[in-house]
Amino acid sequence: MPTRVNKIIMENSDVIIKNWLEIVSEKRKNDYTSSISEDLFQSTNREFVNVIFDSLDQQSLTKGLEAFSERLVNLGWPLSYLTDGLQTFRRVTIDFVLGQNEKIDTDFFSIILDRVDSWVDPIINKLVNEYSGSWEHTVSLQRVALQELSAPLIPVMRNITIMPLIGTIDTERAKQIMENLLEGVIKHNAEVVLIDITGVPVVDTMVAHHIIQAAEAVRLIGSTCILVGIRPEIAQTIVNLGIDLGKFPTKSSLRKGFETALELTGRTIHRESNKEEVIEDIIGSIEKE
């Protein structure tokens, strides 16, 4: 019996494909794929339906299906195109097979449903898996990329390093900030570390707590931590929250913090009138360092 259904489907594949293409093209008009060119859409439809029939022919998921879904994922076709297409395909096929028989009893009906389902469902599962797999892959790559960006330490001058923080600070990131900070202070032999929070949108008690702990840890290994980039609204919320940031110096901008850092390391900025001298001085000081 099952093979009879298969036979009907295979023998009439042309009609089924024709019906399917019509419905899919009709659907397309008010749809997500409207930005795709007509030629590409038609050729993809044809490829899609061939892949579906191949898998019926060989009674298993084919290499062709894998290649096809991989290509669509890379091109960024919406997953709904594939799932919609397969749902339509299921309906068209069932309609067609039912239309071939005048007399239909419930047994035959359920067998048809069963056959078509066992054919179409694995394809849907496979495609959804491919898509979600590629999303997970992207997300995990981005997570790694974000982690690398999350707590950079930049040595700007001998004994002075800067850690610019941008974005939300969560527990995981706070841990990284602490580790990178301490490791960097030792590695670069920093006397002063500037933590710049210009890019941190909200400083709540947890963020403040982590910053205080980091600054305290930096103090313990013999360096000074300066918190810079405190915007006026952040300053007000910190006061409202009643957080005491008095244990280490704070500055409104990186520039002011840097000037303080220079002072703390026994340096000052001089403006020279003669430009050539300045350049020579700079070269000289670089050579000395």
Partner: protein
């Protein structure tokens, strides 16, 4: 005004979601940058408390329209362990998790109106309102 009223708090990242939604609402209502920062910080504290102590809950937003004033109401509710002694958690410097202990009293100072209901073993609901000035 039509908007999504609630954010579910299940993981740490949801705190950011709640905060951003709150900030957007505050901006729409015409709060200034300082008040936006206050509201965002208060939401951050409330959402973090849910995440830390109850595990899950939700933060809801409501626009309050009164004859003479307009405001944003933030309601943070959970079905967590509840708070045994409310007066204790409203003290500065009290924390059971090793934090700064400035969260709830801080929220009270950041917002204009603050209400807390909690039943031991049943959950907590905190309502806070900020008026547009």
């Amino acid at each position: 005004m039509d908007f999504k009223p609630c954010v579910n708090i299940n993981k740490e990242l949801d705190i950011v979601g709640a905060r951003q939604l709150g900030r957007t609402r505050a901006k729409e209502l015409g709060f200034g940058t300082v008040d936006q920062a206050r509201i965002a910080t208060a939401i951050s504290e409330l959402a973090r408390n849910i995440y830390l102590y109850a595990g899950k809950g939700k933060v809801c937003f409501e626009v309050i329209d009164q004859l003479d004033k307009q405001g944003l109401k933030v309601v943070a509710s959970d079905e967590g362990p509840g708070i045994r002694d409310i007066s204790q958690v409203m003290q500065d410097g009290y924390s059971t998790s090793g934090g700064l202990g400035a969260g709830l009293p801080g929220v009270k100072r950041l917002m204009d109106h603050f209400e807390i209901h909690s039943e031991w073993g049943k959950g907590t609901e905190i309502q806070a309102i900020k008026w547009v000035r």
